[in-house]
């Protein structure tokens, strides 16, 4: 599964995207975020406040309970500030 990061999530992770093999128990978005936060120091920094993280699966915005098993690409990012 490909995960891409944006804005300060990208900066804190130190990479724009990566491919990961998730453990089978990481089934929802909230579990993915917890898994990334527990994986290493960069993840802990980027995902210290899960309520500030937004996500999209294959181009569609999703909520924390969304299942991610079938995703090709998951984007993780802070609230948008465009315009």
């Amino acid at each position: 599964m490909q995960i891409s990061y944006f804005s300060w999530v990208r900066e804190r992770m130190g990479i724009a995207e990566e491919h990961v093999a998730l453990p089978p128990d990481v089934a929802e978005l909230s579990a993915l975020i917890a898994w990334l936060a527990a994986r290493d120091a960069r993840g802990a920094h980027a995902f210290a406040e899960p309520e500030r993280i937004r996500a999209a699966i294959d181009g569609t915005m999703i909520g924390p309970d969304a299942r991610i098993a079938d995703a090709r690409e998951i984007a993780l990012f802070p609230p948008v500030t465009g315009g």
Partner: protein
């Protein structure tokens, strides 16, 4: 005609006006947003998603054109590094009648603040760098379009 672009290059407002106005619409409303040099801002960097940002702008333009039966909508957003004074966003909405053009223009600028995957990073003269936080007022303004018909 709906024209949407997400581009790192300078937005040529005059050229976009000519393209948009080719139909000779009765009423055209526009909005131009520029980088402000407040507080010693040296650079504004706007990050985007290579696919979703354009898709969101295209969907907003389509929704506005449908809701107000507009013959022409232009929605152009710059991305990447910009300097104070640079144009960040250009919205053009045309209709035979003024109320539709004005409403659509306001709708588009309000909604793209919350619907498009864009993130602003500010760099100041003294070297400070910060990502802009989402504002409650932007969410409120965008949400108020949900209640109207």
């Amino acid at each position: 005609m709906i024209h949407v672009a997400v581009q790192p290059g300078i937005i040529d407002v005059a050229a976009e006006l000519v393209r948009h106005d080719a139909g000779g619409h009765g009423a055209s409303a526009s909005f131009v947003g520029r980088v402000r040099g407040d507080g010693g801002l040296a650079e504004l960097f706007l990050e985007h998603h290579p696919v979703m940002t354009h898709a969101a702008l295209a969907e907003l333009a389509r929704a506005a054109a449908e809701r107000w039966a507009l013959p022409a909508v232009t929605l152009i957003h710059r991305v990447g590094a910009m300097l104070p004074g640079d144009t960040i966003v250009l919205v053009l909405a045309s209709s035979p009648h003024r109320s539709e053009a004005l409403a659509a223009c306001a709708f588009l600028i309000d909604r793209l603040k919350t619907d498009a995957m864009l993130w602003k990073r500010e760099t100041f003269d003294d070297g400070r760098v910060q990502w802009v936080e989402q504002r409650e007022t932007d969410l409120d303004r965008a949400a108020c379009w949900e209640d109207r018909s």
